[in-house]
Assembly symmetry: C2
Homo-oligomer: 320 residues x 2
Amino acid sequence: MKKIVTGAAGFIGSTMVDRLLLEGHKVVGIDNFSSGQKRFLEKAFQNSNFEFYNQDLLDTEGLNKSFLGGDVVFHFSANADVRFGTNHPRRDLEQNTIATHNVLEAMRINSIKKIIFSSTGSVYGEAPIIPTLETCAFPIQTSLYGASKTACEGLISAHCEGFQFQSWIFRFVSILGERYTHGHVFDFYQKLKLDPTRLAVLGNGLQRKSYLYVQDCVDAISIAVEKSLERVNIFNLGVDNYCEVNDSIGWICDELGVKPKLEYTGGERGWVGDNPFIFLETKKIRALGWAPKLSIRDGVIQTVRFLKENEWVFEERASL
Amino acid sequence: MKKIVTGAAGFIGSTMVDRLLLEGHKVVGIDNFSSGQKRFLEKAFQNSNFEFYNQDLLDTEGLNKSFLGGDVVFHFSANADVRFGTNHPRRDLEQNTIATHNVLEAMRINSIKKIIFSSTGSVYGEAPIIPTLETCAFPIQTSLYGASKTACEGLISAHCEGFQFQSWIFRFVSILGERYTHGHVFDFYQKLKLDPTRLAVLGNGLQRKSYLYVQDCVDAISIAVEKSLERVNIFNLGVDNYCEVNDSIGWICDELGVKPKLEYTGGERGWVGDNPFIFLETKKIRALGWAPKLSIRDGVIQTVRFLKENEWVFEERASL
């Protein structure tokens, strides 16, 4: 039986592909390279257990074929561009909600019943209680991204009820580490490369954020899928502390050996719909024996080192 | 300025159209008659303040044009077929989620900022706490219908945050009354018309249900829109008690003067994904001074009388 990974050339997807191959599984990777990178799959392509389809999730016919023989789907493909959601309101709907519907249909057609899904802490909107539990009060969505991931979660759990699927839904904080290609460390690194003497910072720099290292994220997913066997298994994933954007800027600048003048745009939000503070209660996943190995600081530094050694990711992003 | 009503030829939509016209507003009705009935708009068509577009919400170009000059949208168009959701998994996605996205886009293009939305108590899935509050724990979806309405709510509130919309979202129990064209009273009436000596009942008849009379529903919407002025206003709508399906069968049979033999299919659910008990806490809307005028029993009887006087609705449904 094969493990299917959508978004296989993406940050978390390609990390999961490598992990599954390391564990000896047959893996089918699916990606359309809209934001994924061929280079992230270099190692996978050398493994005879790896099969790949250059496939758009909106092309249902091709999708249905590529799922043949799978027994579980790691659905990690997504539009993860939270910030510019209001510039193209249809993108989250298509690439998240409709794509997830298509994935579930392809599963149904191929009698695949298990799905692992990368959701987000953004589904909590502006949570009134922090750290936020999986069972917090019914949230009000504040971003098109969060709304689309909530829609995906709903589709998945309705399939669990209606078609006897089983699901593991992970609500992530932001993820950092090797193969990271968007987010604040990426943006700051890119700006500092162009001009190390100054750095424009959206908001007031006091926005509190919680980050998780990508290998810790993949560890948590593996443990939850092994140990949690409800029909619908929902887990927050994150570390048990947070930093301010200013802390992160300090670590990045230290690692790069630069001392830019910080220029704040002001306000407590980086952008419209930005959540000034996402911090998740993770005692549910910790109760299964998982704990993150890297602190936020170490995750940020690891990410800067990856970017230093892989500056080609900036070229690739610029060409999109 | 005009009030726009989608699903204008539907059960609740046409009732809202008549109410708005009665209040002297200019009203634009939009419907594609996929399940709406021209006859429900007979009175409206005689009013010079009423304008109508035979328009599918999936045709964005036509939709955008029909919204010209509106100042508020009552978005009541939906696929409301909860029961057969698993027979056509794409229908709720298209007619609810994508259609609502299109409505929001048409609003944005036409600078309309206010939306009233008919959601459902089904968004609570199988609520662990009953009666269920608007702020209950983050629910797990159990039906494609509930999942699609949750997706719509998310899209709407994300537009409130991202585009300064204002919204009133109503989570209904089942609605009864004049122009009711689907649901258990409809089904039982239809079966008893064919054969008054026996009645097949899905489940064990002990399913508890809460119903609200359509005029009480429209009253509540009018009051909430007038008095509740948050950016996102979410209200449960229902009566403060419930009945069993068996109670309802008794009232229907009494009204029809029949004594059928009841044949239960058994089990505590009528169908896969059926929620054996939806009962909503409505103290939030009651705090605005609203109270329903009709009991569940009176609502059921009113509905049976409407069906008796309008048996053509069964012909129309049969031809769909």
